[in-house]
């Protein structure tokens, strides 16, 4: 962690635990475990050469998107970076179709055309692989909501702190504020833009607290390792945004436990730093809350973990058995089909 002084959203873990109750909390812990196991096994498959390209792990950041979707529901527009495995899983893409996508199979989430950085659901406009290039897309989704009068939905744009340096970020926030667009920009500050520390890339810290006012926006800072804090904050932010129909800048302070991508050994970070970060593992934190509240036992947790490993193993079998795309289809789908009735020819 940097020595930046953050003003975290104030929340009481006990209150959140009580509000959500055992079933929901266990469900979300289960989801976080699925994400963790899914990525860990996929990384092994990558090392075995079954998965190619880039692979960006969400390990360490799971609480943020899990709590966000719990607080705001699926029925919004979601936009992710290339670190998009978790969001796709959380928004309803199955482990099977995502693993099949990783394996480059026709049964994959994007028919083997996108790979690990480009995952989709009906509500996920994609993982986008140009840093910051998706912030205008998210802003456009919020524009659509206003244009079409869908007052019960918002747009969620997840971005890394590295994207804050991009011009697209500035242009998006300026127009979202100017035009009153209900876009919630969530900077997941994992401290590193690949191997460049945030303090070497962004001129002012904390990012959201300092920058939001220059866009005439409100800001919130979240403890991204603590599910209860992120949930409480996102719930408040959601309710507020539905009221104001205004954009908001959120910074979730977090740590990734892996390199930027699978090929990054992370030499820029000491072992001690990483170990320290892992002491606040979001899965362990939530697990401990549940055990303390008598909502979970250590054995149940182990069983939960085991079940998730089974789901992931099955997804690998599914991916393995699935056929590769037929090369004859290579040139299909570059263009969307035209509506002949409307085109009139």
């Amino acid at each position: 962690m940097t020595d930046t002084e953050y003003h975290f959203y104030s929340s009481d873990p006990k209150k959140v635990i009580k509000e959500l109750g055992a079933d929901i909390l266990r469900e979300d812990l289960n989801k976080m475990l699925l994400i963790r196991n899914f990525e860990a096994r996929a990384e092994s498959a990558y090392q075995q050469g079954k998965i190619g390209g880039f692979f960006h792990s969400y390990s360490g950041q799971e609480a943020i998107q899990t709590a966000c979707i719990r607080a705001m529901g699926v029925k919004n527009w979601y936009i992710a970076t290339y670190r998009c495995h978790a969001l796709a899983l959380l928004l309803g893409a199955g482990a099977d179709e995502i693993m099949a996508e990783f394996y480059g199979k026709v049964t994959g989430n994007a028919m083997g055309r996108g790979g690990s950085m480009h995952l989709y659901t009906d509500r996920l406009l994609g993982g986008f692989a140009i840093v910051g290039g998706h912030t205008p897309i998210a802003t456009g989704a919020a524009f659509s909501l206003e244009y079409l009068g869908k007052k019960d939905e918002v747009a969620l744009c997840f971005l890394g702190e590295g994207a804050v340096a991009q011009g697209a970020f500035h242009e998006s926030l300026n127009m979202a504020s100017l035009w009153n667009l209900p876009c919630i920009y969530v900077i997941e500050n994992n401290q590193w833009g690949m191997g460049t520390a945030v303090s070497r890339a962004i001129c002012i810290q904390p990012i959201a607290e300092k920058m939001a006012s220059s866009y005439n926006m409100k800001s919130y800072t979240l403890d991204g390792m603590d599910y209860t804090n992120t949930y409480a904050a996102f719930k408040h932010i959601h309710e507020e945004t539905l009221q104001t129909r205004r954009p908001v800048l959120v910074e979730a302070v977090t740590q990734r436990f892996k390199g930027h991508s699978i090929s990054d050994p992370g030499f820029y970070r000491t072992k001690e730093e990483l170990e320290k970060a892992k002491q606040r593992d979001p899965i362990v934190l939530l697990k401990n809350y549940l055990i303390e509240s008598n909502m979970l036992t250590e054995d149940e947790f182990k069983e939960m973990n085991k079940q998730n490993i089974e789901i992931v193993k099955k997804s690998m079998e599914y991916a393995e058995k699935s056929p590769a795309p037929d090369p004859l289809t290579l040139e299909e789908g570059v263009f969307a089909p035209e509506d002949e009735n409307i085109m009139g020819y």
Binding site: L125, S144, Y147, E171
Partner: protein, 332 residues
């Protein structure tokens, strides 16, 4: 025009033809809107959107800040989520600031998502050189964007085609780059008052001839037609083809003509290296090489940024004189 005998015709300017296309499509479909710099309160830098704010209101005729990357991306996001945006670039040269949105998002999303999302959007505005607007406002962008699968590129040469093609572009489920020309906005032509569409991807023989095929598009066609007229005096009949849609290219219509004339000159306003003429030429070789009685010839912009001085500007793009000279050399 051969079409629509018996329908009422009205002479209008190119800018009015474009405005009618946008207006009619906004009437037909409530999800169609237009955004860009100065399109609303200023009534458009070139007055294509004149009066539209008054008619449709600020919800559908939207002034943007000077932030092409931002508003191009916002429009793409809107297109992915149920709307049909038209984005006006005050000059296509400003699209370079938005290149990431066009190149990495608009043209790739349908394929990359396995068909889960589509991007029905039109980017339009003036392309290429105008009257001494110098190096940074005069580039022809079609060769750059032509290298990107997933984009449709249209460049009409007259008000009739401009209206019919823009209406088709707005109705398309795919990203369309619609290239106009500043010097053409005042061009007048009689067009039908009744609604019509011009299909995307269809070239048109605009002058029949038997000795040589001249392929071009957009503003260059005026020079081509003038050159063809001049060669007629020498007994050379030039067949002129307006490709109208650059991509997908209607190579069949071009080849049909080349098979008849056995000679071909391609004229392009943009630069020669990796240009549209190079693509058309190679496709002719692939499809009807055996019918050529002479090597293909191309006339394009010379390899310099486009200079300010009037005489230099005129010299670097194809002129009527250079077209006449090339045609004469080819078949004279």
């Amino acid at each position: 025009m051969k079409i629509l005998w018996g329908t009422d015709m009205k002479e209008i300017e190119m800018r009015e033809a474009l405005r009618q296309a946008i207006d009619e499509e906004m009437q037909r479909d409530a999800t169609v809107f237009i955004m860009g710099e100065e399109v609303a309160e200023y009534n458009g830098a070139y007055k294509v959107t004149k009066g539209m704010l008054d008619k449709w209101g600020a919800k559908r005729v939207i002034d943007t800040p000077i932030a092409e990357n931002g508003f191009a991306g916002i429009a793409i996001g809107a297109a992915m989520t149920g709307l049909r945006p038209i984005v006006e670039f005050m000059s296509w040269n400003f699209s370079f600031v938005a290149a990431d949105q066009i190149i990495s998002n608009a043209c790739k999303i349908h394929y990359m998502s396995g068909g889960r999302f589509k991007v029905p959007i039109v980017f339009r505005g003036p392309n290429g050189a105008a009257a001494q607007v110098s190096c940074q406002h005069s580039h022809c962008v079609e060769a750059i964007y032509g290298n990107l699968p997933g984009l449709i590129i249209i460049s009409p040469s007259n008000p009739y085609d401009a209206k019919g093609l823009l209406k088709s572009a707005i109705r398309s489920n795919n990203p369309v780059l619609f290239l106009e020309n500043e010097l053409d906005y005042g061009d007048k032509m009689e067009i039908p008052e009744k609604e019509y569409l011009v299909p995307i991807g269809k070239a048109k023989v605009i002058r029949e001839g038997k000795h040589v095929t001249l392929v071009s598009y957009s503003r260059m066609l005026k020079k081509c037609m003038a050159a063809a007229e001049e060669l007629k005096k020498k007994g050379i009949e030039v067949e002129v083809i307006d490709i109208r849609t650059i991509k997908p290219l209607d190579i069949a219509t071009i080849c049909q003509s080349v098979k008849k004339t056995n000679h071909c000159l391609v004229v392009e306003e943009g630069h020669i290296f990796s240009g549209i003429a190079a693509e058309i030429g190679f496709q002719i070789i692939e499809h009807c090489f055996d019918y050529l009685d002479a090597p293909l010839v191309r006339l394009c912009q010379k390899e310099t940024p486009l200079p300010y001085a009037k005489n230099m500007e005129a010299e670097t793009t194809p002129t009527k004189e250079r077209i006449v000279e090339a045609l004469t050399k080819l078949v004279g």
